[in-house]
């Protein structure tokens, strides 16, 4: 029997393993072929000439633990049972432990529209892994559908690899896609330090307080889009379909007004051989669902998250969560959440408090903010946890 099993070898899982190693017997399980999770492929400029290179960070984190921790890659978890301990069924054996950390990260949400099943259509995350990790270009020229922090960052990354992006625009509005130009504009504003224009960059933090100014700028945003940071961003154009017989050949775009209503006779085709769909990220929590755990829907965290405290505890004794399963944030926060969960297992309250403080500081200073309302979402979650704890007494 192991002390702790960690599901997910991403930033949260590797950090948790690093904190526990030496003191406790630990196994990390991941279905991917290499440790690192979605660190593999991350690449952005944190400051002048200072790069966040996820692949390097993943390799460093893995080296830190490989001698003392059993890391099982290429292994999928298929079921979990809990009685006096946890029993983890995998595609490569059954393992037991006293503690479990679920650090399964997030999945990319999809933006269905006609033609989205053609070869050459992929998520932006797929394009990121191809470009920065596998080093195979997703194609000769692409169109990105969906304007959110993830799609903006990855569009920049395609540029670093000299892969032309011809347009970044909205998906056609339908029953499943309801993002409006105003939402996309808010995204551009919330990008703060990575904002695609000087005007938005300098104004980003104050703009959030001034809805009237935002409204004016949204109306004034040119219909043909703007070219900023080398990216052709168009919040008033939507892709109505993706065309091709056996693979992507073009997309058909249409102009809209500031409310996202289509303008007639503005359709035009843009040729491309790959298309990236992006509708943001959602916490990946099937593992917790296997144990019938309570979940809370919080939009600013990305969707349903397992009910948990700010100390990463859940309703199941010995089961902790860490990383994007607790809400969509950056890898630095995931790392500290992993260390926080591990500190809880070690009973090291001083360390736990310190990581909690670091998490809050990072939230204030984050370069990429995935949702402007994130802090409120975290407070709402904590109050659900408090209500739940009281209900037990």
């Amino acid at each position: 029997m192991l002390d702790t099993i960690i599901i997910g070898a991403g930033p949260a899982g590797l950090a948790a393993a690093s904190t526990l190693k030496g003191d406790r017997s630990v196994m990390v399980i991941d279905e991917y072929t290499q440790a690192g999770g979605r660190l593999l492929g991350q690449l952005y400029e944190e400051g002048r000439g200072k790069w966040w290179n996820g692949l390097e960070i993943a390799e460093r984190m893995y080296k830190e633990i490989e001698d003392e921790v059993q890391v099982k890659l290429n292994t999928s978890v298929i079921n979990i049972e809990k009685d006096t301990h946890f029993t983890i069924h995998t595609t490569d054996g059954i393992f037991t432990s006293n503690h479990l950390i679920v650090a399964t990260g997030a999945r990319e949400k999809s933006t269905p529209l006609p033609g989205w099943d053609l070869p050459g259509v992929m998520t932006v995350g797929a394009a990121q892994v191809l470009t920065n990790f596998q080093r195979v270009s997703p194609g000769e020229q692409g169109v990105i559908i969906g304007i959110n922090p993830l799609s903006m960052v990855i569009s920049l990354e395609l540029g670093y690899a000299d892969i032309p992006v011809k347009k970044i625009c909205m998906p056609v509005a339908n029953a499943l896609n309801y993002q409006k130009p105003g939402d996309a504009f808010e995204t551009l504003v919330s990008l703060g330090g990575l904002a695609p224009s000087r005007m938005i960059f300098y104004g980003s933090r104050t703009l959030e307080q001034l809805p009237k100014v935002q409204e004016f700028l949204l109306k004034a945003f040119p219909k043909r889009g703007i070219r900023a940071m080398g990216l052709p961003i168009s919040i008033k154009e939507q892709v109505i379909r993706i065309n091709g017989t056996d693979k992507v050949e073009s997309v058909t775009v249409q102009k809209t007004n500031a409310d996202g209503e289509p303008i007639e006779d503005t359709e035009k085709d843009i040729s491309c051989d790959f298309v990236c769909l992006s509708d943001g990220l959602a916490p990946l929590s099937e593992i917790c669902s296997l144990l019938n755990m309570k979940h809370v829907y919080i939009k600013s965290l990305g969707g349903y998250v397992p009910l948990h405290s700010r100390y990463m505890e859940t309703e199941i004794d010995g089961l902790y969560v860490a990383g994007n399963i607790t809400g969509i944030e950056n890898a630095k926060i995931a790392i500290m959440q992993g260390r926080l969960a591990a500190s809880q297992i070690l009973g090291d309250t001083a360390a736990a408090e310190e990581y909690l403080k670091k998490i809050n500081d990072e939230r204030q200073n984050a370069k990429v903010r995935f949702h402007p309302d994130l802090v409120n979402g975290k407070e709402k979650l904590q109050s659900s946890w408090t209500d739940f704890s009281h209900s037990l007494n």
Partner: protein, 110 residues
């Protein structure tokens, strides 16, 4: 056409370490240790399977094991996710295609 990004202005350069594999009997080359999705795309192969029901072409979608759109047969083993398997010397990969229609009256039947 697709290409390998052997030179990258921030990530630097790397050299391709070739391995031979077979795609539907066709001899191709990949980079040792890379996923089958990457190896096939580097050979400009985008269609990885034909849909079980209508035979429409499908390719890689999420590339990290979540969507299962990239299912292929690897050395005789069916329904393996191409994105979670790495290319190995002599590996035989085959695409899967339409299944015979044994039932009638399904919702989508014409």
């Amino acid at each position: 056409m697709t290409r390998r990004i052997t030179n990258h202005k921030i990530l630097g350069s790397f050299e391709v370490d070739l391995v031979t594999f077979y795609w539907n009997g066709l001899e191709l080359h990949g980079h040792r240790g890379e996923s089958l999705t990457a190896a096939l795309l580097a050979n400009d192969i985008r269609t990885l399977r034909l849909h079980e029901k209508d035979g429409s072409p499908r390719g890689l979608y999420c590339n990290i094991g979540h969507c299962s759109e990239c299912r292929v047969t690897i050395d005789g083993k069916k329904n393996q996710r191409a994105c979670l398997n790495t290319v190995k010397e002599g590996m035989k990969i085959e695409s899967q295609s339409m299944l015979p229609n044994l039932t009638e009256g399904g919702r989508n039947d014409a």
